[in-house]
Symmetry: C2
Subunit: 578 residues, 2 copies
């Protein structure tokens, strides 16, 4: 037997017992004739004690143990003289009477500590060692709990866990597929799913009623920071539902997850329309942890001879409570920040509200105290606040202001990682126009239904048609999205027409779904959550790589196993690959 207890289990009540533990040598401390070793496993750390006086040979052997050696020790649980109240086993130690080295270890290329000295590249190469560190291990444990909390909720709500296939058919629409050559069917390929979208809709046609799956999805995108070619979705679909049935169900799920995993009651989850979210926050995934909402200054800022405003689509402000503390230099830095190409603003206007209630703006030439008082009134600014103003094309300026709002939110400490605020964004546009291809593109996907009241405009004014689609955002990040689907083949055909699919293209790519709709498809809708992103938010990390056991780097490469890699000649020949 390798152990009677784990390294996190022993307490004062075990004193006097003879035990066997196995684990890794975390640290060794030699004091005169005494040797202390912290033995580590997933469950905790237990201190081992060796005494030269009692057993010289054993103590000498203990001193040969290096970091990360795997040992099995046998001994008595005794009271610790130097108690450590920072760890649960801190009241005891093991007086070791015998031990065995189960495996030696080379010196690891970086320290196995909470704050390691290893850079990301070397930690990815030796991921199995990085995974020994508490901060990473805890994230994987939390992810496992998250997974369980989701399943518990959905199982209780009568959802059926159904696995859909991974070897499917490529659909050239949307992001690029990863493909898999078929050896048995030369010149033919499977594709890996970007999502089980069509299959879950088919499951609704088949009457499964409520489906879920936690499933890997694949997207062959050009690499960018914090994207993984494979990612995990909580994928769900329900029949005979309307929008609010879906929102209620999954609001319940997210609440249940926060309760189970973080023991936290998630506050209200407000529903914002897309238009409202864009107007108030400049984002379709607003960070609701703080206010500082966008204020439209058009009617008080325009028409004062200041061309920058007068010629702008919108003049938009935010009020930074207590923001008058920022120095002129800091304000200049804000200006530089919004002028960076990633943000793309042409400049930033500010207006300080002084302690005495007077105003000092960067456009005093055009706006007197009375005018500025109107700005302040509009944006609910008080003494010592700071009003920041951007102007330009409406959609652009709102997005720029969203970025600035988040930036200042960070500076002001309004976005703590242990605070969580969720919201729904609903009534997205159905389609968006792409100038390059001169085509309308589905904002979600081609199976998303338009809001019934807007259907008549699909052919005449598609840009104004709202979709019966919804996203959930937490802390400014999209964590889930879905829609009520089109279940009627006539409407589906109108949608394909709108998106510029010829009937042949539609038939070739989605024929099996359209055929299925001929045989009694029920009204249905669903949602998919990004498990990686959700786990990242719950663990307070910015990178989804931290919540994936074996992530790829930003170039889509697994540098631990060195994949992708060339095939050998036999494999290539069999597959007919070049």
């Amino acid at each position: 037997m390798h152990r009677t207890h784990t390294c996190g289990e022993l307490r004062a009540e075990h004193i006097g017992q003879t035990v066997t533990l196995s684990g890794w040598v975390q640290t060794r401390r030699d004091f005169g004739g005494m040797t202390f070793i912290d033995l580590r496993d997933r469950y905790g750390i237990t201190q081992l004690g060796f005494n030269e006086e009692q057993d010289k040979e054993l103590n000498t052997r203990a001193r040969s143990l290096g970091r990360e050696f795997v040992v099995k020790v046998h001994g008595e649980v005794i009271e610790r003289s130097n108690k450590n109240d920072k760890i649960p086993t801190g009241n005891i130690e093991i007086k070791v009477t015998a031990f065995k080295v189960l495996n030696a270890s080379l010196t690891p290329p970086f320290t196995i500590e909470n704050d390691t000295d290893g850079g990301e590249e070397i930690r990815l190469k030796y991921r199995y060692l990085d995974l020994r560190r508490n901060p990473i291990q805890e994230k994987l444990v939390l992810r496992s709990k998250l997974n369980k909390a989701v399943r518990d909720y959905l199982n209780d709500a009568d959802f059926i866990d159904v696995e859909t296939p991974y070897l499917i058919k490529s659909t050239p629409e949307g992001a690029r597929d990863f493909v898999v050559p078929s050896r048995m069917n030369e010149g033919q390929y499977y594709a890996l799913p970007q999502s089980p979208q069509t299959f879950k809709q088919l499951l609704m046609v088949s009457g499964l009623d409520k489906y879920y799956q936690i499933v890997k999805c694949f997207r062959d995108e050009d690499f960018r920071a914090d994207r993984q070619p494979e990612f995990t979705q909580i994928d769900c679909e329900m029949s005979f539902v309307e929008r609010d049935d879906v929102l209620d169900t999954f609001e319940g799920m997210i609440r249940s997850v926060f309760k189970s995993v973080k023991d936290l009651e998630l506050g209200d989850i407000p529903k914002l329309t897309y238009d409202e979210a864009m107007r108030r926050f400049g984002s379709d995934k607003p960070d609701m942890r703080f206010g500082m909402e966008l204020v439209d200054l058009d009617d008080v800022a325009k028409g004062n001879g200041f061309g920058v405003f007068d010629n702008a689509g919108s003049v938009v402000a935010i009020n930074v409570t207590g923001g008058n503390k920022y120095t002129r230099k800091e304000l200049d830095a804000f200006t530089d920040w919004v002028k960076r190409p990633q943000i793309g603003a042409l400049g930033l206007i500010y207006c300080r509200v002084n302690e005495d209630g007077s105003y000092k703006s960067s456009v005093d030439k055009f706006f007197d105290q009375e005018k500025l008082a109107q700005w302040a009134e509009k944006s609910d600014s008080k003494a010592n606040d700071l009003i920041l103003v951007l102007s330009g094309e409406t959609e652009k300026v709102r997005k720029q202001m969203n970025e600035l709002r988040l930036h200042i939110g960070d500076l002001e400490g309004l976005r703590p990682k242990d605070k969580f605020a969720a919201c729904w964004v609903v009534d997205f546009p159905l389609v968006e126009y792409d100038e390059e291809s001169d085509k309308w593109h589905a904002m979600h996907h081609p199976f998303t239904s338009p809001i019934p009241a807007d259907r008549d405009k699909m052919e005449t004014d598609p840009g104004t048609v709202k979709a019966n689609a919804y996203d959930m955002a937490i802390n400014g990040m999209e964590v889930g999205g879905g829609s009520i689907r089109i279940h009627d083949k006539t409407l589906q055909k109108r949608m394909f027409d709108l998106l510029g699919f010829t009937p042949e293209e539609a038939q070739e790519q989605f024929g099996f779904l359209m055929n299925a709709f001929e045989y009694g498809a029920p009204p249905h809708g669903g949602i998919a959550f990004g498990l990686d992103r959700l786990a990242a938010i719950l663990t307070g990390t910015d990178s989804i790589r931290d919540v994936i056991a074996f992530p790829k780097n930003n170039m889509g490469r697994d540098i631990m196993i060195d994949a992708p890699a060339p095939l050998n000649a036999d494999q290539k020949k069999e597959l007919g690959m070049p």
Copy 2:
């Protein structure tokens, strides 16, 4: 709102309530001025009633509803005059006051009944309709419960659910990999995992201690009946364990699954060594639902001048209790059966035990009553039994007898699908010799450890070395298998040497695992269960296709979505594919 209740929910206690139901038209029956419709959803069937006298127009509209139309009905729950005690809703019906057709349906290409008239090909093409049938839908529901039962047990036992990557590196050893060309790294490929074997071992190196995952695996095999290119594994690994720790844990899991899913106490799970299983049953996955064990007749059958026996490696018998009932013609059919090329026996000897205790054998010329009495004693045969005897090369004849035993077991009704008997088979050979390549092959995989006592024979007599490996069989089918792994790099190198890997090949294919073993790998072992097979056994079906929502056919083709399929020219160009 589409429904207030499901179609399986209403009972006598709901009588008088006004309800809304949605579902599919299962059947319509027109009687004079009355129309009855069975409305179906996943949860059950509810009878709808229409009455011409009360609402002529509604009744007329109801008569236009065809099979599989989707309708939403509104009405009052009333007591049913003709009660149906076969269904839970049989005491009530809905007096419909209004309804709406949510979707029409073409006439399905086969009947949506428990016993459908559709052949397998058409049912696979219209899988979404086949999935509407109860027998298939129930299997998916059970599979979902199985999934949950497994997770509940493993979560309770402190296993962590960790996802391992799907885009990994090809290892030419073993079965063929499916590969995925990397667009961003021309000429390089990912491979889809045949199992997460190396990753779960790395998770043990990383100290995760107990890991599980329910995960898709992929094998590009030449197609044969009831193989799927993608299949699902319950994949598990534990650290600091010995064999019986693993067996106890997963015996508990299987018991828990049978209890949760079938409300059934699984009996004892005996442990047989591989040698014992082969001797007693001629199989390493014996069907333990019945006896009829193999009996070695060597010492009573050889040396009697019957050359067939005398020159055979082994003479093996089974006793068929009450088998004297079989006619001569039936016995001839058994002979033909074992002589088929799939079995490959040269002939079959029988010995009837007559009611009066006398014997009648097909080899009376060589064996008198006294000799045959010895056969009967050896094989514990009584009056009216039948002894069947095969002879030949020991290993072959045992396997042939296993087939015959199962065949007769079927005929005798000893293998009912609602009876379950599991066993462990342990101490498999470590390697088997392949004449063609003149190489030793790992019977499980190259990371399986030899039994400590046998290690010295690895170089001198590898064929006799037993592996610390184990399989679980239920009802004669292998459902799981695993081993205690090699955690020591010296032993791992000896194993690679034995398997004929050059150090370079070993380093190239498994270098990252061997490197990991340099940094303190703990003793570890694990197991993987085939979820598809387990679900098939639990649902009493012979084909795993029945428990997969969207299976491929025997040619690895999804005939519903028509995959695999050619890529379009752009895709091929981007990927550099021919």
